[in-house]
């Protein structure tokens, strides 16, 4: 039995490649699993705490044995000279105990596009961050922050004495360098960051003193502090935004990067430098030098720095000797010396290696569908399996193409709320949950988990999110689809035969969208609705989104629990990605100069509530958020199925010798999972 399953996992590799639908075979091959297998694997949400009272700070400091020889040889200053001033430290109380130094954390990555894999471990260089619950903003790179009463200014306070990984001081000048020489240079950043604007008006950065920086806006922008804590272009930290190669991060190592800028030599000189290294222009070279993942010479503020870059078969990192955090006993963090990520050309290989116990902690690329195989081999591989449910309402949301127009009859139906409600009521979510989520997900609407800040209440998770065939059939009759053909499917009202909808799915993702779609097709048969499931390559599916060509597309609504940080999976407001009406998203983001104005007054109301929230104080913004979610659920612009599950990076394989690893961690985009669990406190027992 055991070997049979393992072979099937392997067979998944072949099929994934042959058909482009990863994990499909392994999914359907997972034999009858006792229900709720996973619920025992969901532990208690826990994590390390930070100490903010300077009186409780440690007074003496220790360092990793790895660095001792260099200190002895005089190549590195003593540990107290490398740390910020004692009152300015980042002090962490580890989850369980003070750890031991050393070790090499082995992980998988899938190539240079997988920079988020390392970024998320190394996210401590964010200006602000969230605590382990993912709800409260706490300091990170900045020691503290303040929002002015009028909401127009957000001031951050840096840690005096903090240093870059090469030992050079880290000050407000590094912020001003980024702002003046990187951000305001149109060759480097052609379009301003949306996060650094309020209502289309640019923000400014100002240096108050060497350790104080202010972000100023022409209008109230109280939400900006969330932008600084979230996974945004301005707040996600130099490492992450460098990984994205978008020149974000709000600060940059001036002393190192100046050599690549024309301002500090000449355009010819920097272009020549670029050409000599094989780059087509100085901007390309700068982009490369700006990425910690690609450039191991870049000074960083992260716990680990790259040794062997991401474009080699092994992406490896070692500790930053100047990292600015200590534990409560005064040990400089991180505990773990090295991180080695080995290249898995496909995720099936990564899963197989995890089953063989070759990774120490791995949550990325692990498939929920392999859970039974993971559990069977847990003893042999000396690891345990943790499930971290997500906070978003639906791992498979059926996003309706609200601005689809190609077929007038279908367009008319999709714009009809009753029709959308009927489709939503025709789905047996419990069956989906058992079949594809092994019973660990929550069935319901697209609304986020009830304990998230913008949740309008648990009742909204069930609204239009249950199976009710009777009501569904009544609604369909009501919208004029009462005539059926011989097979029991409803006929179009324009006399062109059977109503056939089309649902686009994408293969090879964390969730087997196509298989879920096929099951929904069977379920909708009971309400007489025929739907073709069309699996498309991801890029094609997204391109069709952009052209308003998809009637329906299945995609996760991950990140939507933080409505204002990441709205695109909840509302059509972001023209970079919108599954539920690109024309409307363009209209919103261009302030009505492009795209198409939605004809649904409720959507316009949601847009207004959304736009206004950014300037509001916390309480009012939360009110708006809840109201928007009520509208989204009531209007059902996306149909929720099963969510709050670990399908999306929530299957965590942890070797039994790892310490301070939480039983359950918050699994969310804004939390940069696993960052909020503070990998700097993980250690080898």
């Amino acid at each position: 039995m055991k070997s049979m399953r393992a072979v099937l996992v392997l067979a998944g590799v072949g099929l994934a490649i042959a058909t482009g639908s990863g994990g499909a075979a392994a999914q359907s091959a997972t034999p009858a699993t006792p229900p709720k297998i996973g619920s025992t694997l969901i532990g208690k949400l826990e994590g390390p705490e930070i100490i903010r009272d300077a009186r409780a700070f440690p007074k003496t400091f220790n360092e990793a044995p790895m660095l001792a020889p260099e200190v002895k040889a005089g190549k590195l200053p003593a540990v107290d000279k490398r740390l910020p001033e004692p009152s300015q430290l980042f002090v962490v109380k580890p989850l369980k105990e003070i750890g031991k130094y050393g070790g090499n954390w082995r992980r998988a990555f899938t190539g240079p596009a997988d920079h988020e894999n390392g970024n998320r471990i190394n996210s401590a260089d964010k200006i602000l961050t969230f605590d382990y619950t993912g709800t409260k903003i706490i300091p990170s790179l900045a020691r503290d922050w303040k929002v002015s009463d009028d909401g127009k200014t957000t001031t951050i306070y840096l840690r005096k004495g903090a240093r870059w990984s090469d030992g050079k001081p880290f000050t407000a000048n590094d912020f001003m360098f980024w702002y003046e020489d990187i951000y305001l240079n149109k060759n480097i950043v052609p379009t301003p960051f949306f996060e650094f604007q309020i209502d289309g008006k640019d923000g400014k950065m100002r240096k108050i003193d060497d350790y104080t920086v202010a972000f100023e806006f022409p209008e109230p922008y109280a939400f900006f502090v969330y932008q600084l804590a979230g996974s945004t272009a301005i707040g996600a930290g130099l490492a992450t935004r460098g990984g994205f190669q978008n020149f974000g991060g709000a600060y940059a190592p001036a002393h190192y990067l100046k050599q690549f800028l024309p301002k500090y030599s000449s355009e010819e000189a920097v272009n020549k430098k670029a050409k000599d290294l094989g780059f087509d222009s100085w901007v390309s070279l700068l982009k490369n030098r700006y990425s910690w993942a690609l450039n191991n010479e870049l000074p960083v503020m992260t716990p680990w720095k790259t040794v062997s870059p991401i474009n080699t078969p092994t992406w490896s990192m070692e500790r930053n000797p100047y990292f600015w955090a200590v534990d409560t006993a005064g040990n400089q963090l991180p505990y773990i010396d090295r991180i080695t990520m080995t290249l898995a050309e496909n995720t099936e290989v990564a899963n197989l290696r995890a089953i063989a116990g070759e990774y120490d902690i791995q949550e990325r690329h692990m498939h929920l569908s392999k859970l039974p195989v993971f559990l069977e081999n847990a003893k042999k591989g000396n690891y345990s399996v943790h499930l971290d449910p997500g906070l978003n309402g639906s791992d498979v949301a059926i996003h309706i193409g609200n601005s689809y127009e190609a077929d007038p009859e279908i367009s008319r139906l999709l714009k009809n709320k009753d029709f959308r409600h009927a489709l939503a009521l025709g789905i047996d979510r419990d069956q989906l949950n058992e079949a594809f989520w092994l019973g660990v997900g929550s069935a319901g609407s697209v609304a986020p988990a009830p304990d998230t800040i913008y949740s309008p209440g648990a009742e909204w998770n069930k609204k239009w999110g249950v199976l009710d065939l009777k009501q569904a059939n009544e609604l369909l009759d009501k919208v004029g689809l009462s005539k059926k053909d011989a097979d029991g499917y409803r006929l179009r009202t324009d006399g062109k035969g059977r109503l056939r909808l089309e649902m686009v799915t994408v293969g090879g993702q964390f969730v087997p969208y196509t298989q879920v779609g096929e099951m929904i097709k069977q379920q909708w048969k009971k309400i007489g609705v025929d739907v073709d499931i069309k699996e498309l390559e991801r890029n094609l599916a997204f391109t069709r989104d952009n052209g308003n060509e998809n009637q329906m597309i299945t995609w996760a609504n991950d990140g939507s629990e933080m409505l204002f940080l990441f709205p695109r999976h909840a509302l059509p407001v972001d023209a970079a990605e919108s599954h539920m009406g690109m024309a409307f998203a363009k209209w919103y983001s261009s302030k009505g100069t492009a795209g198409k104005k939605p004809d649904d007054p409720e959507m316009l109301r949601a847009f207004d509530l959304f736009r206004d929230a950014f300037g509001m104080k916390e309480d009012d913004r939360i009110k708006n958020g809840k109201e928007i979610w009520k509208i989204i659920v009531e209007q059902t612009w996306s149909i929720g199925t099963v969510g709050q599950s670990p399908a999306f990076m929530g299957v965590r394989i942890v070797k039994n010798n790892m310490g301070n690893v939480p039983d359950r961690q918050v699994n969310a985009q804004h939390a940069r999972t696993p960052h909020t669990s503070m990998p700097i406190t993980f250690y080898f027992k």
Partner: protein, 329 residues
């Protein structure tokens, strides 16, 4: 002779140019561009690219310009020996391919050597001792080898390695050695990992070559000159090896044209399954990401290799087979 070579060369250059145009067009055929694909892949891994960032990326990569201008820009760069930037990798294309080229060649050459070392003797044996017990065995095994797709074999070999030998799954190095500088120990580590991909990649080719060799040699063995040689009392070994085998080798040589591109790309699917850091998976990922410079350069490289390979096999055929040599003059 010289005129022939020059003509072939000119034709080769023209072919390469045509390949460059074609590959560029093919890469642009799928909908969307690199930035669409980037946004989609970020979304799939729970991260986001904003609209402003997308616009900025398009502008910086020149994707907002018409395809003809992009092609001219690419051509211009290439004439200066610069193949452009690999978008996903943030590095020059030549570096990205260069990193993987040597390992790819090691694997491919190992696979080819494995194929030849096995296929030639078996082919000869099967032809000479036609319908013998071993011929049936080889034929049987050969057909199985032909019938099993490479990736399936790779999966089975990987599973056996994992389940019974506790071997590292996939890859070319143990994790301990992947980062280490080159040393005897590392070379030995590579040598230990090499047989699996070499065998998997070689098996299908072996079966095919055995069949080709066998049928070619059978044709030759029936010919009167062989009978004459036998009649004159030549030892059986010389009868077979001296002429019929040489003639039967022709098809081998004419496939060199296809071997060369194979050597630089490796097998895409098998490499992907076995997680080998070769050019094959690189090409696949570049195509999926619509990284036109990287994909374009690899496709072009494969084209050039095919052209050069065909050219070389033409020359070799002339050298090996006097009939072609004489016929040409």
């Amino acid at each position: 002779m010289v005129a022939y070579v020059v003509r072939r060369l000119l034709l080769a250059v023209l072919t390469v140019w045509a390949i460059s145009v074609l590959s560029f067009i093919i890469i642009h055929l799928p909908p969307g561009d690199y930035v669409t694909s980037y946004i989609a892949s970020m979304s799939a891994s729970g991260s986001a690219v904003s609209e402003g960032e997308a616009t900025a990326l398009r502008e910086q990569l020149g994707l907002d310009k018409p395809i003809t201008i992009q092609y001219v820009k690419w051509m211009g760069l290439m004439l200066q020996g610069n193949f452009g930037m690999a978008m996903e990798w943030g590095r020059p294309v030549s570096d990205v391919i260069g990193d993987r080229l040597s390992l790819t060649m090691v694997i491919s050459v190992a696979a080819i050597l494995f194929t030849w070392a096995l296929a030639l003797p078996i082919g000869i044996y099967s032809a000479v001792y036609r319908y013998s017990f071993l011929d049936y065995v080889f034929t049987f095994v050969g057909f199985i080898g032909l019938a099993i797709p490479g990736f399936l074999l790779a999966l089975i070999v990987m599973y056996i390695g994992f389940a019974y030998f506790g071997a590292n799954v996939g890859g070319l190095f143990s994790p301990d050695f992947a980062e280490a500088p080159w040393s005897m120990a590392k070379a030995w580590d590579l040598a230990k990992h090499l047989p699996i991909p070499a065998i998997v990649l070689g098996v299908a080719g072996t079966a095919q070559l055995v069949r080709i060799m066998r049928s070619n040699l059978l044709d030759e063995l029936r010919k009167p000159y062989v009978m004459t040689a036998r009649a004159r009392g030549l030892p059986e070994y010389r009868v077979v090896m001296r002429y019929p085998v040489r003639v039967a080798l022709n098809p081998f040589i004419s496939t060199i044209g296809y071997l060369l591109p194979y050597v630089v790309s490796g097998s895409i699917i098998v490499s992907l399954v076995l997680s080998l850091p070769t050019v094959g998976p690189l090409l696949l990922k570049a195509l999926i990401a619509q990284d036109m410079f990287l994909a374009g350069t690899i496709v072009l490289l494969l084209g050039v290799m095919t052209v050069i390979g065909t050219f070389i096999s033409d020359l070799l055929l002339m050298w090996v087979d006097p009939r072609i040599r004489l016929g040409r003059q």
